[in-house]
């Protein structure tokens, strides 16, 4: 089978994120990195490949993003993907969930994967939904927040937490599965893998190459627009204690609790 892993370049966790007030969009300047949630999806693909319960011929990392996203894609390859596909086109900038899901689905169509894996969320957009959007376009069964995958008679036996406890769901391939970060501990790439990643094939595609209709992507065609950014209702700043002398710290905590009659 062929596994495609959707990955994304996000601002590094250490970079303060801000909205550009003139465009209403996230300012994507500064250091970038591979979305940490995506490393779990790559690891899940590698474990399926190494586990042997299904024969995995190829793991392909797929991203949509600006030219700079190549770095995140190379990192995904260094974690085990065999090759990479980058959908990059100025026309895609500012796409919302609808446009992004549609565009990714078009790229995936040309790859005809048996399994699409992705992380549970992106570190920047705080959106948990792209897998379900892609799945509907591809007409594949889909499940999000999966924390365990076993192969059973060519199907995936998936576990996840839902509203009422743990659910176990049997999913036929081809399918789109988003994995929770509890599913595994991603490996660190070896130096050899990092060097080797530069030599693996990377296929750059434009929107036209992928057969994407221009009027369905980009900021102007977004189905939802943000405006009027405001600060949330402020909560009064709490008291902060830096623990230097633990005896003293504990005394302060107890006094604080006692004042609020929490030690009655």
């Amino acid at each position: 089978v062929k596994i495609c892993v959707l990955v994304k370049e996000v601002p590094d966790a250490a970079v303060e994120k801000r909205i550009n007030p003139s465009t209403g969009r996230l300012d994507r300047g500064g250091e970038k990195n591979l979305n940490p949630f995506d490393t779990h999806a790559i690891e899940a693909a590698m474990q399926l490949k190494e586990g042997g319960a299904i024969e995995v011929d190829e793991v392909v990392a797929v991203t949509m993003g600006p030219a700079s996203a190549e770095r995140a894609l190379r990192k995904a390859v260094s974690l085990g993907a065999d090759r990479a596909v980058q959908l990059t086109d100025d026309a895609l900038a500012g796409s919302d969930v609808n446009g992004t899901g549609y565009a990714l689905a078009k790229v995936l169509e040309s790859e005809s994967p048996d399994l699409v894996l992705l992380g549970q969320q992106s570190d920047d957009g705080e959106c948990y939904t792209i897998g379900a959007v892609v799945a509907d376009h591809l007409q594949m069964p889909s499940l999000t927040q999966v924390i365990k995958i076993d192969v059973e008679d060519g199907k995936l036996r998936c576990e996840r937490q839902a509203e009422y406890g743990y659910d176990t769901v049997l999913v036929e391939l081809p399918a789109v599965i988003s994995v929770g970060d509890a599913i595994n501990e991603p490996r660190y790439p070896s130096l050899k893998a990092i060097m080797g990643a530069k030599k693996k094939p990377l296929d750059a595609k434009s929107a036209a190459d992928a057969g994407i209709e221009a009027d369905r992507v980009g900021y102007d065609n977004a189905r939802a627009h943000c405006s009027d950014f405001a600060a949330p209702p402020a909560k009064e700043a709490g008291k902060i204690i830096e623990d230097e002398d633990t005896g003293e710290t504990v005394e302060q905590i107890v006094a604080w609790l006692d004042e609020r009659k929490l030690l009655a």
Binding site: Q161, A224, W256
Partner: protein, 324 residues
């Protein structure tokens, strides 16, 4: 007729609390728009009583669809059909995992704008505007829909369930032909409880542990502190998934929502998914070694330090104070 269609999740003969909140919110918004709020339920053998009671929360009509439970894609098929046949303009969800999945699937199916983690919805010029916190809740954006249909996915507990309706709603059965891919995921077991029973929803004092505890043994110190304070122990999703503590003690997006008098968070960073389950607590105390942890932004008392050093001493000090 245009209107609002709300998905009502149910399990084991009861409707989900967040869904009831969404129906109440849908009814409020529908009256502002001068239209009706309808609800939809998908499941096996849903009774007239179960579906009809949504009238108490403000649904004018309930569409009932026979189909598989606990999975999103059959509901996408059902809602796409009902919304298209009845010309609904807004599809509303009370949050939770299934709401996210169904809402996203509908966004693709109906080419509808979608906004998730919505904390407030307002009617403006005959349209709905969704307010959504962004960038780790540092700002709130107004989101306007630019599509025929708008999908609104509420944040957990954003919408309060209010019994404002006028009794039983009319129940209309709808036959839905499910898409082939929607039947390719099948539920093997739903709602399995793992680990011991812990009742955290009624506790006045909760001591909660997160990944910062380092390992499952870290919970022993928390149990002692909870014992000294006369409270119970709770946990984040991360540590429950890691098997350090039972699911019944989980707070947050997919766990329980609590509002005790005291919530003491040890080694918890304060991710949004956790925050939504505990932010209404009266007093929030956080112990974390990372001074940049988001939890310090919404705690009343923040202690920056090593919890392994602080918690045992705090337990002793609480015991001494109480016995003195």
């Amino acid at each position: 007729m245009s209107g609002i269609l709300v998905y009502a999740l149910h399990y084991d003969g009861a409707i989900n609390k967040n869904s009831l909140g969404a129906v109440s919110e849908g009814a409020r918004l529908a009256s502002e728009l001068g239209t009706e709020c309808h609800a939809i339920m998908v499941g096996e053998g849903i009774t007239d009583d179960l579906a009809g009671q949504l009238g108490n929360w403000g649904a004018a009509k309930v569409f009932r669809v026979e189909g598989p439970e606990g999975l999103a894609q059959p509901v996408v098929d059902a809602m796409a059909k009902v919304a298209t046949d009845n010309d609904h303009d807004y599809l509303l969800f009370g949050g939770g995992l299934l709401g996210f999945e169904i809402g996203a699937g509908l966004a693709a199916r109906l080419d509808a704008g979608v906004v998730m983690e919505v904390t407030e919805v307002v009617a403006q010029d005959g349209k709905l505007v969704a307010k959504r916190p962004i960038l780790k809740d540092s700002q709130v954006a107004d989101v306007h829909y630019r599509s025929k249909v708008g999908v609104i996915i509420g944040r957990l507990n954003a919408f309060e369930a209010k019994e404002t309706g006028s009794g039983t709603a009319a129940v209309e059965d709808v036959q839905v032909e499910f898409a082939p891919h929607s039947l390719k995921a099948t539920m093997v077991q739903r709602g399995e409880q793992r680990g011991a029973d812990v009742n955290i929803e009624d506790a006045d004092i909760l001591v909660a542990g997160g990944r910062g505890l380092g390992n499952a043994d870290g919970f022993k110190a928390l149990e002692e502190l909870a014992g000294a304070l006369g409270g119970a122990v709770a946990a984040t999703r991360a540590v429950v998934d890691a098997g350090w503590y039972p699911y019944a003690a989980q707070i947050g997006q997919t766990g329980k929502t609590v509002a005790p008098k005291l919530y003491l968070a040890a080694g918890i960073s304060g991710a949004i998914q956790h925050k939504v389950g505990m932010q209404s607590s009266e007093n929030i105390v956080a112990i974390n070694k990372d001074s940049n942890a988001p939890i310090f932004e919404f705690s009343d008392l923040g202690v920056v330090g090593d919890l392994n050093k602080i918690v045992p001493k705090l337990t002793e000090a609480v015991k001494a104070k109480k016995s003195g």
